[in-house]
């Protein structure tokens, strides 16, 4: 669904990604230590930064020069690292933002409120007052309202209370089982390999290993992360 080919990118004059290629697969996990360039790669995938070299192809279309909102319109959705929401807006307004301009707005929102009961409970509360886990659920709900073909998740369980971690992991598995494509950055290697059809290991902006998720051993992945 999404192919990233020989990507070079960074911030200003600092290059962070040095020719990264990510193959297309239903569920792709990107693994790597802090600072390896994982978030940069996902920001590039959704269009928040542009590559100095390389191509981004989605669903057969070259989208390298498209703005993020145009990529969302084509069926990509992005959940950034760190439980980001519009804190001054209510939970419901956060969801309405994603639903605005779509047909069956109400049904789309209701489907996510049903999926995450905590959001229903705090619908009229400012999103900034939700717990970290609830904010992350809100971020995922916002992404799902756009009915994406590909869901991009940047460390969705990082810094979240364990009970909600299990819920979020289950949600990801269910979505994947229902046929949604997923591009996942995850520190929890065990879960990532379980969920992923293919995985890519990043170290210092280079791909040091790729392979099939189910078959990889955690130890070989750890070795590739340390390169």
């Amino acid at each position: 669904m999404l192919e990233l080919t020989d990507i070079k990118a960074g911030y200003g004059r600092t290059q962070v990604l040095h020719g990264v290629t990510v193959p297309s697969a239903d569920v792709v996990a990107v693994l790597g230590h802090n600072g390896a360039g994982k978030s940069t790669l996902l920001r590039l995938a959704i269009g928040l930064i542009k590559p100095s070299k390389g191509r981004v192809v989605f669903d057969g279309e070259d989208i390298t020069s498209l703005a993020p909102n145009q990529r969302v319109a084509r069926g990509m959705a992005y959940v950034p690292q760190g439980q980001q929401s519009f804190g001054q807006l209510t939970t419901l307004e956060n969801l309405q933002l994603a639903a605005d301009g779509r047909r069956r707005r109400k049904a789309l929102i209701d489907a996510q409120l049903a999926r995450f009961p905590a959001l229903e409970q705090f619908a009229t509360r400012k999103a900034g007052l939700l717990s970290g886990g609830q904010r992350q659920q809100l971020a995922i709900a916002r992404a799902l309202i756009t009915e994406p073909k590909l869901l991009i998740l940047d460390e969705p369980t990082e810094g979240i209370q364990p009970t909600i971690v299990a819920e979020i992991e289950q949600t990801i598995m269910e979505l994947a089982a229902a046929g949604m494509n997923v591009l996942l950055v995850e520190q929890h290697i065990g879960f990532a390999l379980e969920a992923a059809e293919r995985y890519v290991v990043l170290a210092s902006g280079h791909v040091t290993q790729t392979g099939e998720g189910g078959k990889a051993a955690t130890s070989t992945v750890r070795a590739a992360m340390a390169i």
């Binding site: 807006l89 301009g101 756009t146």
Partner: protein
């Protein structure tokens, strides 16, 4: 005591006019961080629009109500044009924006001077604004009351629009977190243009009110721009409540200073007051409490 009431009422009307001028700025400066020095000239464009409408609709009872939306759209379109041609390239360069828009303001002033008589043009007051309302023994001119009413309507309309419409929601989201807004599917470019249109349009409405109180000429915008910026800064960025209070306070202070001294000294004194205030409370009247919450 006798002098107090008239100055208070007078100042409230001045404050309302300042508020109208500042409302648009609270969008373009407060929400988008753009220092648009041509905002005063958009106000002037609104005032001239009122004059032009009166050339078509002679009955001033009708022409002013028609002029309000016309001025909004005309000034809004000028703002949109400025955004699309110049400001869009300068969003992260406030100093450049300031310099360029000072230039644009001067060009607009010069253009007004070429098109209209240099002494300015008369905007006829509607007859229904001729009278006075007696408040606490003071005859309060209806046009001052009208300015206050107009400001109140604009504030209410703007805050309702921001709060309850999908456009308003998208503007708030874009202000809060641009990248997140984009990745939620919002075209932040479209939102920028819309915000600029509305902010500039409000300056046009302010211009109609100004044309009923003072003269309509090429210089009129210049006298509002600095106080309006001060009001936005003192009220606190993006804080409608604070902006209202600050506008009223500056308006009343101006009226009292003008009563005790002279008009231009009053301006200077009011600026000094605001600047001292900003030194004490740089974040404005109301502090945002939820700063750390993402």
């Amino acid at each position: 005591m006798d002098a107090l009431i008239p100055q208070l009422l007078n100042g409230s009307a001045q404050g309302a006019l300042l508020l109208l001028a500042a409302l648009g700025l609270s969008l373009t400066f407060g929400q988008m961080g753009v220092i648009n020095m041509a905002h005063g000239e958009f106000l002037m464009i609104g005032a001239f629009s009122a004059y032009l409408v009166q050339q078509v609709i002679v009955a001033s009872d009708l022409s002013i109500p028609v002029a309000l939306p016309v001025a909004f759209v005309v000034a809004g379109l000028f703002g949109l044009l400025l955004e699309v041609t110049i400001i869009r390239w300068m969003y992260r360069r406030p100093l450049d924006t300031l310099l360029v828009t000072v230039g644009v303001g001067l060009i607009l002033q010069q253009a007004a001077l070429q098109i209209f008589p240099s002494q300015g043009v008369p905007v006829e007051k509607p007859r229904w604004l001729d009278g006075q309302l007696t408040i606490l023994g003071y005859d309060w001119p209806l046009r001052q009351l009208f300015t206050i009413l107009l400001a109140a309507v604009c504030v209410a309309a703007l805050s309702a629009w921001l709060k309850y419409t999908s456009f308003g929601r998208r503007i708030r989201a874009t202000v809060h977190n641009r990248d997140l807004a984009e990745t939620t599917g919002i075209s932040t470019r479209t939102i920028d243009r819309l915000t600029f249109f509305v902010g500039s349009g409000l300056a046009g409405v302010a211009g109609v009110a100004a044309s009923l109180i003072g003269g309509t000429n090429s210089q009129m915008g210049a006298q509002y721009i600095i106080p309006a910026f001060l009001v936005v800064a003192a009220g606190g960025i993006g804080q409608l409540k604070g902006t209202i209070l600050a506008a009223w306070a500056v308006g009343v202070a101006l009226a009292f200073f003008a009563y005790w001294t002279t008009g231009s000294l009053a301006q200077v004194l009011a600026f000094i007051l605001v600047i001292v205030f900003l030194q004490l409370r740089p974040q404005g009247l109301f502090t945002v409490r939820t700063r750390s919450l993402a």
